[in-house]
């Protein structure tokens, strides 16, 4: 395989990885909204300092919870569970 071919394959792999990352982000955001109906979730891939606005799989998810839930330890645990569930869900989708 030539250097150009390797570069093309690497680019495809990066796009695919980024796509999975975006899906993960959306799944996670959905889970948060399902658990906290009044929460606002903004998933962001458009941060200037990211190497590539949508292809870089570094993700930022901004969660605003209602005041009543903001300082509850249960809320943190539930969000952590949401992250875990989202990873499991995507892994499950990929294995079908």
């Amino acid at each position: 395989m030539g250097a150009d071919d390797a570069a093309v394959l690497a680019e495809f792999a990066e796009i695919k990885r980024a796509s999975f990352a975006n899906v993960f982000q959306i799944l996670f955001a959905r889970t948060i909204v399902a658990n906290f109906p009044k929460a606002t979730v903004t998933a962001s891939t458009a941060v200037d300092y990211l190497r590539h606005p949508t292809k870089n799989p570094s993700l930022v998810v901004h969660i605003v919870l209602p005041n009543s839930k903001g300082n509850s330890d249960d809320s943190y645990e539930m969000i952590a569970r949401s992250l875990s569930q989202s990873a499991a869900l995507l892994n499950s989708e990929l294995s079908k």
């Binding site: 695919k16 999975f20 998933a43 300092y49 570094s58 930022v60 605003v64």
Partner: protein, 228 residues
């Protein structure tokens, strides 16, 4: 493509000045959106650093219904909805806000074009993550999320003058932040504390999945790969 071929031909003949003129012309056309490639009848147009596709073409190729509303361009189908604001960077994907870097671009004849990253990366991933393997012709059905790296700080340059300062928690790959103030306010100690609490909760919940790093930005991405 034609420009590329012409520039290469001029360079091969030692006509560096002509090649430079062609490149200048090429770059000017790219900036203005006048340059497009047509492959297998499909249009891809250049607009500055963006590559864009006609929205009708995107809708047809993905089997989605396109609705051109006053304030947004909507694509619906396969149980999913995508809404891209005409003037803004907060798209809606299945009702979830998603900040994107490139809103739809209006070109001649009132036609709208969508950014290639949205079309090639975001939308297909949401519609069917597995289909990506087929598209790229590679065997990656064993791809999995193996680790989620969490980080408590955004890089310093994101702090004061950014339009969306740093109300985020960052994660090497998944940044999460919990707070109860609007996103336009700068990060506070309370927000930082909330982030740290979330990281602690995640590490306690599943140390095999969650990993923690302190400001080691860009060392890791979302770790997706075949299980060892």
């Amino acid at each position: 493509m034609a420009y590329d071929a012409m520039m290469r031909a001029e360079e091969a003949q030692g006509e560096k000045e002509k090649a430079a003129q062609l490149r200048q012309q090429y770059n000017k056309l790219k900036e203005s959106g006048e340059l497009a490639d047509y492959q297998f009848g499909k249009e891809q147009r250049y607009f500055g650093k963006q590559m864009i596709y006609p929205s009708e073409q995107v809708a047809k190729s993905l089997g989605l219904e396109l609705t051109d509303k006053t304030l947004s361009l909507d694509l619906n189908g396969h149980g999913h909805s995508f809404s891209f604001p005409i003037d803004g960077q907060l798209a809606s994907v299945d009702g979830i806000n998603l900040e994107v870097s490139s809103p739809p671009v209006r070109y001649k004849h009132q036609r709208y074009y969508l950014d290639s990253d949205l079309v090639d990366v975001v939308i297909p991933g949401v519609l069917n993550p597995k289909k990506l393997d087929v598209l790229f012709g590679t065997e990656s059905t064993n791809f999995r999320i193996q680790n989620v790296w969490l980080e408590e700080h955004l890089p310093p340059q994101a702090q004061p003058k950014e339009p969306r300062p740093s109300p985020f928690t960052s994660g090497q790959e998944v940044g999460t932040f919990v707070e109860d103030t609007p996103p336009t306010q700068p990060q506070t100690e309370a927000q930082h504390s909330a982030t740290q609490k979330l990281i602690d909760a995640a590490l306690k919940l599943d140390p095999s999945l969650f990993k923690h790093e302190v400001e080691s930005y860009s060392k890791h991405g979302l770790i997706i790969g075949s299980p060892v």
